[in-house]
């Protein structure tokens, strides 16, 4: 499949990249390319300009700074599940990185690229030929969302593996833009709007991911349920962070909503309590009840809800096993 035509830039620093993006607001940023180029081949994204940021030096690093861990935007996923700093302090993040796509995707794909991936839906991630049997969906440039049969709204699901693992360890992201750099909690980076899932100006580039040192005090895990272990996007992915000493917990899910979501109800219930099987079951029921999955894939919302609960219980068991080691 030939890619649609585009104008191509390879800036050598972030400033130059931002300048190009300012001039070309419809441009797309190319990093690993494993999400964007597939969408371009399917003609659901046809940017007139591609800005390849991979020639920018010093965006591939994992380093410790005053105890916090800083990860460069272009750090390949493969490196994240091999780096001892990550594996020892944030095993959930390493688990998520090794769960993304196939080994090849982990070699090519970057952390920031994975965070910024497009939302997914069975009416959107299809070939032009497949999609031609019905009017284009709202996300692909049409008027209607076929998931809910409503106009000018998009219910595509966010399906990234890295985001939930970062949500539970309270990660922050740094954006480089025309007015310099700014930081925000990763939770605020996702809009909840399926059509434009990221809260980001066109000329802003995600440059760094920062994990606070306090998050290393708990045990983190990520458990993914997918059609095939080898390559698929999650049907549901669950991340858990547990500080058993302080009895504080954080829970997040992917692929169940238009953005990666925190399981606030489950957290409120669990905080201050022991991680017993009964408490895990009750928390799982609360999380599943609060979720709003829709039929964006071949898996039904009720199946996703059930899997959310089971995965959370599995994550709790893993946390307990690890803390007893």
């Amino acid at each position: 499949m030939r890619l649609p035509k585009f104008e191509y830039f390879e800036p050598e620093d972030l400033k130059a990249a931002v300048a190009i993006l300012q001039k070309e607001p419809a441009a797309k940023i190319l990093a690993g390319g494993t999400d964007l180029l597939v969408n371009m081949k399917h003609r659901v994204e046809c940017p007139p300009v591609l800005v390849n940021i991979k020639r920018i030096a010093d965006l591939d690093y994992v380093r410790q700074d005053n105890g916090d861990i800083r990860i460069g935007a272009l750090t390949p996923l493969k490196r994240l599940h091999a780096e001892s700093l990550i594996v020892e302090n944030f095993p959930g993040l390493a688990q998520a990185a090794s769960a993304v796509g196939s080994y090849h995707h982990q070699v090519m794909g970057t952390l920031a690229g994975n965070i910024c991936q497009q939302n997914r839906c069975m009416y959107f991630n299809q070939s032009k030929w497949w999609r031609s049997s019905r009017p284009a969906c709202y996300k692909a440039g049409g008027e209607i969302c076929h998931v809910v049969n409503k106009k000018e709204i998009c219910y595509s699901a966010y399906c990234g593996d890295m985001a939930p693992a970062l949500l539970v360890i309270d990660a922050r992201i740094a954006l480089e833009g025309p007015d310099g750099s700014k930081e925000m909690p990763i939770e605020d980076f996702f809009s909840g709007d399926g059509k434009t899932p990221l809260v980001k100006a066109p000329a802003e580039i995600l440059s760094e991911i920062i994990i606070p040192k306090t998050s290393a005090d708990g045990i983190s895990s990520y458990i993914k349920f997918a059609n095939r272990d080898s390559i698929d996007f999650p049907i549901v992915g669950t991340a858990l962070w547990a500080s058993e000493n302080e009895k504080r917990y954080r829970v997040a899910f992917t692929a169940v909503d238009r953005k990666p979501v925190r399981g606030n109800q489950a957290e409120d219930f669990l905080n201050g309590k022991e991680l017993s099987a009964e408490n895990a079951k009750a928390a799982s029921d609360l999380a599943a009840k609060a979720a709003k999955p829709l039929k964006t894939s071949v898996y039904s919302p009720s199946h996703k809800r059930r899997m959310m609960g089971l995965l959370l219980q599995k994550a709790v068991n893993e946390a307990k096993r690890r803390s007893s080691e």
């Binding site: 499949m1 030939r2 890619l3 649609p4 035509k5 585009f6 104008e7 191509y8 390879e10 190319l30 390319g33 494993t34 180029l37 597939v38 081949k41 591609l50 390849n52 991979k54 796509g101 196939s102 080994y103 090849h104 995707h105 070699v107 090519m108 272990d229 080898s230 390559i231």
Partner: protein
Amino acid sequence: MKEAIELHINGDTYELLVSPNYTLLEVLRDKLGLMGTKRGCDLGACGSCTVLLDGEACLSCLMLAVDARGKQILTIEGLAEGGDLHRLQDAFVKKGALQCGFCTPGMILTAKAILDEEPHATEDVIKHKMAGNLCRCTGYKKVVEAVMSVAASSGKEV
């Protein structure tokens, strides 16, 4: 607009004029006639188009040719040296680890990337990392056996 690029493939340097929207796979097959790299799904889901870029297993269907500038590219054509099959190629033949052979170039190159990094990789590691290379006919048992036979006997770079 076409760009003049240099690609280093199998130890040779090629000067080419390519449009930025050409993938590395298209350039290898359609412009250079290196047909060993296979076009399978063309969407990064099957692993048939795997080539090594600076020793790392990459999907050439999801890589712009202009983006491969400055990297050492290894395709299946560059693996045998002086008419002698590479140890992995030899193992695939001896173990009968192929049927139609379409997925074989991608399988062998992925295996090479794995064993170059971890010469004594365990069966679990090999299975996990090669899971993105799909075979539609013969199955995976003999493929794993072939790679394991090289892993078990290797003491240095494959």
